[in-house]
Symmetry: C2
Amino acid sequence: MLTRTAEHALRALLFLAQQPEGVLVPANRIAQATGAPANYLAKTLQGLAAAGLVRGTRGREGGYGLVVPASAITVGQVIAAFDVPSSADRCLLGDRPCSSAKPCAAHVQWQNARGAALRAMRTVRLQDLLAGVTRQLAVRS
Amino acid sequence: MLTRTAEHALRALLFLAQQPEGVLVPANRIAQATGAPANYLAKTLQGLAAAGLVRGTRGREGGYGLVVPASAITVGQVIAAFDVPSSADRCLLGDRPCSSAKPCAAHVQWQNARGAALRAMRTVRLQDLLAGVTRQLAVRS
DNA sequence: GTTAATTCGGACATTTGTATCCGTTTTCCC
DNA sequence: GGGAAAACGGATACAAATGTCCGAATTAAC
């Protein structure tokens, strides 16, 4: 369902979404809070930054923060930020290449099925997952 | 969406579903028809046999055939036959373990979202993907 | 300025998924 | 019974994902 990297990313984003507006959290702290390997999460966060979901600020008192509100980020976006450029879709039936232009007999049905699964992920926003979570107070050490 | 192994498996099953009832097809032939690496597909087919979806018959004139009709196999089953025993679901929020018994705040929402995506795959049967495919005649060399 | 805290970026190590190879066993055909 | 065709099953090789390490570059505090 979720690649491991995307799962780390999702946790990190959910954690950031619980921070008060404008507060930056360093990668180390995020890793500690979400239980992700710190060094790897650092890379993952850079990926999220490249995708425009978070912004990293260097230097002392720096860290990461959401660029976009949690109501505007879907799980589908998070997944999409980490999947490969999608290997030129092979035909479900046999060897030949399969495109919308020259579809195989199963093409449309398969597209529909995949679409339904993706839609399910695209319709869930981070905010939805946080329903019932009381916004965390700003507690800095 | 689909792991590569599951994709091979799905193609193999769809190919078998197009065979006339009772006809066995050797793994080599399936691999050739679906464009999968022959040696690896052999292993994959053993997995499908273990899952009870196909049956392998040894010896000359042997091969693989569906155990269950295409109308009774869902894409979800094929996926499930090849994913890991599902690493004890970690909580979406933070480090602690998360279960239905002691759910985190995001637990229910996340379960629902995953459920919707899985349901989309479970509702697609192989037969649905083969709509519009004329059943292939038995042409043995 | 100097120092500490932080993101950046590359190089490397480890693990897991994918693929290959080869011998063994079973079964049919002659 | 002997040979060929096939599924089994283990050992190994390759590739990609995941995780680790370390030296920059940047920024704020003092």
